[in-house]
Subunit: 414 residues, 2 copies
Amino acid sequence: MKLEVVTIGTELLLGLTPDTNAAELGRALAAAGIEVVRHSSVADRPEAIRAAVADALDRTGFVITTGGLGPTRDDMTKHAVAELFGKSLQLNEAVLRSLEERFRRLGRTMPAINRSQAEVPTGATVLPNPRGTAPGLWIEQHGRVVVLLPGVPSEMRGLLVEEVLPRLATRGSGLVIRSRTVRTTGIAESALAERVGAIEDVIAPVTLAYLPSTDGVDLRATAWQLPENEVERRLDAIVSLLHERAGEHWYGDDGADLAATVLQQLRTRKTRLAVAESCTGGLLGGRITAIPGSSDVFAGGVVAYDDAVKRQMLDVSASLLDTYGAVSEDVARAMVVGALHRFGVGAGLAVTGIAGPSGGSSEKPVGTVWLAAAFGGQTRALKRIFPGDRSEIRARAAQAALDLMRRLIGETHS
Amino acid sequence: MKLEVVTIGTELLLGLTPDTNAAELGRALAAAGIEVVRHSSVADRPEAIRAAVADALDRTGFVITTGGLGPTRDDMTKHAVAELFGKSLQLNEAVLRSLEERFRRLGRTMPAINRSQAEVPTGATVLPNPRGTAPGLWIEQHGRVVVLLPGVPSEMRGLLVEEVLPRLATRGSGLVIRSRTVRTTGIAESALAERVGAIEDVIAPVTLAYLPSTDGVDLRATAWQLPENEVERRLDAIVSLLHERAGEHWYGDDGADLAATVLQQLRTRKTRLAVAESCTGGLLGGRITAIPGSSDVFAGGVVAYDDAVKRQMLDVSASLLDTYGAVSEDVARAMVVGALHRFGVGAGLAVTGIAGPSGGSSEKPVGTVWLAAAFGGQTRALKRIFPGDRSEIRARAAQAALDLMRRLIGETHS
């Protein structure tokens, strides 16, 4: 089953409000095996709404709209869609009574303006909305369906789950759409694609997407409208294949966070962690402590932004700093050793680099970062030159530091 | 001037990735006086892309797309749009050289797969993308324009600002849509609304929106399609009014970052800053060092996640920790004094709290945070109980710490 979503609201086109309803509808419908083939957003204007809904109906015959059902003058969805179906609006006594009852319960008298919310296109099914004043509407004629939902996210979600999805289930085929994500890091999209190879034809009708971010490159496999039992079997096989091809770059699946992976590796090895950060300035500690329960593994860190701090709080010698500069293998290694010593822990990470926008040179351009990891008596250092702006370079550096630790632990037989 | 936006990516329709590009394009184009009349999203399928772009072109004659310009097989936008214009793709030597140069700079050889990114529809203008491997493309024929931008948000933004908006400026009407934002913190939305009062009718046709986030509450005033000189005059007056009503809660306008504000306050007072973080785990340092040039003011910090670290690296006495607990006024004050002393600086911030999800008690529920600031020989402490989940509590705590410093400096005549 396929449909289109039309989200209505001038604020969406101005970019002033993120369109969370479109994303939420996409997730919920995909989980129910329904493909959203196009999503459109239009402003609170009757002709724009009518045109967008008509276009979408012509393509798929089934449209869900959100927004424009409120009591004020800029709420025009109901009128526009009623006109499209050649229907008039009539006062629905049951809706009016429930609206008045709702205001009474809140100790208020219903303002006259809300009376318009009890007007319903003739023949439409009312979808009760206990969370707000705008009921949903299901309009069906000659096999064409438009479902009107309110724009307030909690009201939209309530109506979707309680009224729309159950009705769609009875129309559905029993087929589902499901995605699984294999997360990789430390490899570029193009290099990963070469390792994965041209498997698209082999895995069809499952599709594969490459999603690069500062965390690395995610591989997302999506199975489209297959029976539930078959979809899991096929995705399991494809995910296994992707794990194998991604090799040492694979660090987790779906919502996996590399910080959580590293914390778990250290937890099972009963080793505590400390960090020494220069260019990331606390971001690495922030990533680690974002994970609930990190305190049993993570002791703390030093943000050694100033070279004097590197000397005084991490025991990096002035001669190393003078000879090699703060962004160097020797200083990264000295920082991690200092962190191990100062915090009395068995695992450490250090980051020192040039996040920009200034401070780069031809020898050490902006993006140059030295990372060091210590675990199980071993220390490993790595130089990377990261692309992007200051914030991307810092995010990539924190992720690369975690990845260095993940690999070091994985290769250490302790 | 009117146009349509088509964002391309299966992940958008599945609701797996929020469509930040559509919102960002909406904001930037509105600011330039250009109305986005419809936004559509389609999956990574050539026929879907071709149909959506063709529909949008038929309506407005001008379309901006994002996404689908990567090197892998799921990137199909360029082919689909070239076909729509009846154009073929040709290898562009200049693009190829800049791609190879980019890989060389990062110390890598360009994989063969990236060669496809140097293929350009005949007659298209290449929009150079220094942030990534996918150049933007401007295709214009018989008065119809399609601009293809990459989907990676930072790359999209760079091309939009540097290449697209300047070209659009030469086509516009002279009327602009403009928003100004007044940023406040330390006050709830409803309390702020009472202070601001019912000014909506007075300021019309400028509209006012309240936007709460973990940073505080932003007040956004938007003027719709007015002449440039009038819009600035009206917004100036409204922004002044909002400053006055928000009072001491106002800390900056538009993109102002409270960390930058505090750094500037300290810079003019020639005072350096250090931080001592427990529950924020490095986030506060991360916020501060996100500001380019922070190194002249920010010395560094200690992430004292473990109480032993609070003792050993911040000189917090064991008896204070035993008597009052780590989340207490006395420990927050001791942490900030320890930071001043260890880093040898004149200004310090300390944060200690319970970010959850576990660790709360009836006396100190999850969200309880003690903050301390030191500046000009004074120390001030503040207890807050923040709502939200772990990540929101931590973000609010970092912002509140910065705000405590802003107010302390503001009230200190040094």
